[in-house]
């Protein structure tokens, strides 16, 4: 207490008195140094009184605390998300429900893994006992299909192999029967005969499930590889025979593969089927020049594939969404295709260390060497390549789209790393809603704050000048204010921003102009309030005193009167801040505010404009709405409480 007193008595100027009040100084002067705490408390500054009154309102204090927490999250949170990018999109992760179990291998499977596969939002696993497990985000879009519901015949059968596509799963039983389930919108499974039986006309864009597989099954012992792509699947036999079916629109070169006959290896990128020819010397896609340049590592210079191989043979190919990794017969690897900008390089191996297995997710590779070391590289946007330090003794690697699972010699799960899931789900572009909420909050609050600052500068200036000087100045300024308040807010702001969208402006400039629009359209209210307050204060005695002492007029207006009307202004600013945030949200919601890819809470709700999405993808609006609502409600509760406690009349009545 004593320290505080000293500190405050040293401060001078109107601001210190405004915040701390003159009470403490006064108490010191009156009572000298013998004053006890109890005596000093008797004299309470108006501000202290306001503070005490405010603290009595539990709801307002709670709201204030919550508001501070919100601010801290929004402004500090982005610092913890260095990998966040506004324009991040991921086609395989669109509209996923909140789920943190993308990497949660079921307990029963953990000690007994035969294989794991994943392409999109879920992973499928197979135990040595032949049982299939599915985990991750298993609801497929608005179709109502839950891929986690495994068909009874699959549950009863002993399964030998599984693979997962973006929205379907293919399994091969020990008896050679091929099972498929999941979404079946574009030929993920089902023969042409079945489709015709169901009354559908044959679709030229679909390569139907081969009839001979449906009739005779497949010779399980000779299956070399079962793999799935976006909406397509392939079974490769040891003799090079290929069974291929699925959506031709995604894989334009599917027809070429159907006609090509035998290949040595096959995999799917996002847009192409890539095959390894039987000579094991080049990659076949059907398109010339695609994937015929290889590079030694991510980002190094490319060479012609024949030149690079120089007699060596390719053992296996592994595809991610946009690139292919080639494992050569000397244990080295090389790459072909494009990498995301943030992709890391594959590690340099010691001379006697060779890769024995390469697996690929959507944008990352994991490699296992003959010494049992495990490495991951490629894009790390979703923590795919963060290999734990203590992975030793791995025998096999499996990947989901953004996960890697390491399995030891006893088929038990050794370790796993990668994407755990999305706390608030993903939006219709596949971006993490949680990250966008935090970064969008920053933007929303900044827009609101800057708009309020602009409006308060204009409002206070105009109000003070108009109230203090009166006369013609007053009439003119108030007429101007009236013109501005005659402008209907939302339509006008929309028009301005629409006009702006026809001009060549940088995004930052556009956002700044939106802030200005909001600020310029909201000042008249504040100006009138300040004017009224100044008119009251102008007649008070201390102003008369200042005048008689010869203080300059503008000094009186801004240094004597303004501080005394400050409290009212602050409350209005607080409430205006809430209003500006709401207006920005409405504008952005309608598509006339801050535009994608910059997130704000308003434009994040942009997609929730019809009943189907509102119902099926509830997480795309619920969480954002909660943040927006909590913030504005808190601002209004605090502002309301402040207005009540600052108004002496209201506090007497209470």
């Amino acid at each position: 207490m004593a320290k505080n007193k000293q500190a405050s008595s040293k401060k001078s100027g109107w601001f210190a008195r405004f915040v701390h009040g003159g009470g403490n100084q006064l108490a010191d002067d009156m009572l000298g140094k013998d004053a006890t705490a109890a005596d000093v408390e008797v004299i309470v500054s108006p501000m202290r009184q306001v503070f005490n009154n405010f603290m009595e309102r539990k709801l307002a204090v709670g709201a204030f605390a919550l508001l501070i927490v919100m601010f801290l999250i929004m402004f500090i949170g982005p610092l913890f998300m260095p990998k966040y990018k506004d324009s991040y999109t991921e086609v395989t992760q669109q509209s996923m429900a909140p789920n943190m179990r993308l990497m949660s291998v079921p307990k029963e499977l953990q000690g007994d893994i035969k294989m794991i596969d994943g392409y999109g939002s879920f992973s499928v696993g197979l135990s040595n006992a032949g049982k299939v497990y599915v985990w991750g985000s298993t609801q497929i879009g608005t179709t109502g299909v839950d891929i986690g519901v495994i068909p009874e015949e699959v549950q009863n059968a002993k399964i030998a192999m599984v693979a997962a596509g973006i929205d379907h799963i293919v399994a091969i039983g020990e008896d050679g029967k091929v099972y498929c389930w999941g979404a079946n919108t574009l030929g993920q499974y089902g023969t042409q005969a079945e489709a015709e039986a169901a009354g559908k006309a044959p679709n030229p864009n679909i390569a139907y499930f081969p009839q001979e597989l449906a009739d005779n099954g497949v010779d399980v012992a000779n299956v070399k590889k079962l793999t799935c792509g976006y909406q397509a699947s392939a079974i490769l036999m040891n003799d090079g025979t290929l069974y291929l079916w699925g959506n031709k629109l995604t894989y334009a070169n599917m027809d070429l593969f159907l006609a090509a006959g035998k290949v040595y290896d096959i995999d799917f990128t996002l847009n192409y089927i890539v095959g390894l020819n039987n000579k094991r010397t080049s990659i076949y896609t059907g398109s010339r020049d695609l994937y015929n340049t290889v590079r030694e590592n991510v980002g190094s210079a490319g060479k012609k594939i024949s030149e690079y191989l120089n007699g060596r043979k390719i053992d296996a190919i592994t595809a991610t969404n946009s690139s292919v990794c080639l494992l050569l017969d000397d244990g080295s690897i090389c790459f072909s295709g494009d990498f995301p900008l943030d992709a890391t390089k594959a590690p340099e191996l010691a001379a006697d260390e060779d890769y024995v297995q390469i697996v690929g997710g959507s944008y990352h590779y994991s490699g296992l060497t003959n010494k049992g070391n495990v490495y991951s590289w490629g894009s790390n946007a979703l923590d795919q390549t963060e290999v734990p330090d203590d992975v030793t003794g791995a025998e096999k690697l499996y990947t989901g789209s953004f996960q890697t699972y390491a399995v030891d010699a006893n088929d038990a799960l050794l370790d796993k790393w990668g994407l755990k899931g999305y706390l608030f789900g993903t939006d219709n572009r596949g971006a993490d809603i949680f990250q966008r909420i935090i970064n969008g909050g920053k933007m929303t609050m900044t827009v609101g704050a800057v708009a309020v600052i602009i409006s308060s500068i204009i409002g206070i200036l105009v109000g003070c000048i108009s109230g203090y000087f009166g006369g013609k100045v007053d009439v003119f300024l108030m007429r101007v204010a009236e013109i501005f308040s005659a402008i209907p807010f939302l339509p006008f702001a929309m028009i301005l921003s629409a006009v702006m969208s026809h001009m060549v402006l940088s995004e930052t400039m556009r956002i700044f102009i939106i802030m200005c629009i909001l600020g310029v359209l909201t000042w008249p209210g504040l100006a009138r309030l300040v004017r009224g307050q100044v008119l009251l204060a102008r007649e008070s005695e201390y102003v008369t005193a200042a005048k008689s002492m010869g203080v300059k007029e503008n000094v009186i207006a801004f240094k004597h009167i303004l501080p005394n009307v400050m409290s009212v202004i602050l409350v209005t600013l607080m409430l205006d801040f809430g209003t500006c945030m709401l207006t920005e949200s409405s504008l952005s919601y309608l598509g006339f505010g801050v535009a994608y890819p910059r997130p704000t809470w308003g434009n994040m709700l942009n997609g929730a404009n019809n009943e189907t999405i509102i119902n099926a993808y509830w997480w795309q609006w619920v969480f954002t709405s909660i943040f927006l609502a909590v913030t504005t409600i808190c601002i209004n509760i605090v502002g309301d409480a402040l207005r009540d406690v600052l108004d002496p009349k209201a506090s007497v009545e209470k």
Binding site: P488, P491, M494, A498, V499, E611, T632, I633
Partner: protein, 347 residues
């Protein structure tokens, strides 16, 4: 009073002119050249018929024709503005602007703007009037009750609820209502104005329309509850603390008479301001509702027009909103005088 009203109307006209000028200038910033687009289209269509070597000349001729038609054959923006208003002659000396009844031509609908806007305007006004009646019917009794029973549990609960109500953006409330009433409870249709493909008449048609209007109406009403209830409560509390109320109570008047006759008349003055202002506010507020509920109203027309840069529609719409808002202030001033005798004396 009459003199005062005339003065206000005169002032209103000045503001309207200033705003229309500002608005027109803002539009002229848009780098759209309708005459050029049309001329190009006609030129392309006629291309084969044009003799060689005269292409440029021919195009310029067509271009000038369209420029003259749209009144853009000058770069002077003030002249263009005056032509739009109808105070400056076109190239052939005729006047064709707002004052002559030419409210513009919608480029998108290929119809005069008046025809484009007529039906949506009716729809908007219809739903807004219903919403006003509903909102007033709920908020005024509720506000009075809260003011009279001030500090009670009920009052406190309403205070918290209303603060939440007016803190939420309108589109959020609409989304929430769609989710609850359409997706979860399946009571109302999520959007539209009538059963698709239906051709009802009479009573059935009215019922069908009401069924489709119900949800937007409920959402709009709900949005206004928060702010209005608080306002009514505040002005009622103010009125109840006046000396005349104490006197009335001291006289032994019944509490009902005190509240509804003495206090309410006094509380009415600020409320009138609010009601008129609010009625205008819902015109721009319905921008949001109409776009969410696919309600064929003015807001929807305006948003579509903005997206497709159909600026004659937008310009007229904007003038309508400005006009409504100015008219509103005038109405407030006049009604003020009607409900508050003191104002009449002063003016």
């Amino acid at each position: 009073m009459g003199k005062y009203v005339i003065k206000r109307i005169g002032y209103m006209c000045v503001v309207l002119v200033i705003l229309s000028f500002i608005m027109f200038m803002i539009y002229s910033l848009v780098p759209a050249n309708r005459a050029y687009t049309d001329a190009k289209a006609e030129y392309t269509a006629l291309k084969n018929a044009i003799p060689k070597g005269k292409a440029d000349e021919y195009f310029n001729e067509i271009y000038l024709k369209y420029q003259r038609m749209y009144g853009t054959d000058t770069n002077n923006k003030v002249v263009r503005y005056l032509r739009w208003v109808g105070l400056y002659p076109l190239y052939d000396g005729t006047y064709d602007g707002l004052l002559q009844g030419n409210l513009g031509y919608s480029y998108d609908y290929k119809k005069p703007v008046v025809q484009v806007v007529a039906q949506p305007m009716k729809n908007t006004i219809k739903i807004n009037i219903f919403a006003t009646i509903l909102a007033l019917g709920i908020t005024i009794p509720l506000g009075i009750h809260c003011a009279v029973k001030r500090g009670s549990r009920f009052d406190q609960a309403i205070q918290v609820l209303t603060i939440i109500g007016y803190s939420l953006p309108t589109f959020l409330i609409a989304i929430l209502f769609i989710w609850i009433f359409c997706s979860k409870l399946h009571i109302f249709p999520p959007s539209g104005m009538k059963t698709p493909g239906s051709n009802f008449t009479g009573w059935r048609r009215f019922k069908d329309e009401m069924y489709y209007m119900a949800l937007p109406l409920i959402a709009m009403t709900f949005c206004s509850l928060g702010g209005m209830t608080r306002y009514v409560r505040a002005s009622m509390i103010e009125a109840l603390s006046m000396d005349c109320i104490r006197t009335a109570r001291a006289k032994g008047l019944r509490e009902k008479v005190v509240i509804y006759s003495h206090a309410w008349r006094n509380a009415l003055i600020p409320i009138v301001t609010l009601v008129v202002g609010w009625f205008l506010g819902i015109f721009s507020g319905s921008l949001v509702f109409e776009s969410i509920f696919a309600w064929n109203g003015m807001g929807r027309v305006m948003i579509t027009a903005l997206r497709s840069a159909d600026y004659d529609v937008v310009l007229l719409m904007q003038m309508f909103y400005v006009g409504m808002s100015l008219l509103g202030t005038l109405v407030i001033d006049i009604v003020y005088g009607l409900v508050d005798p003191r104002v009449r004396v002063n003016k």
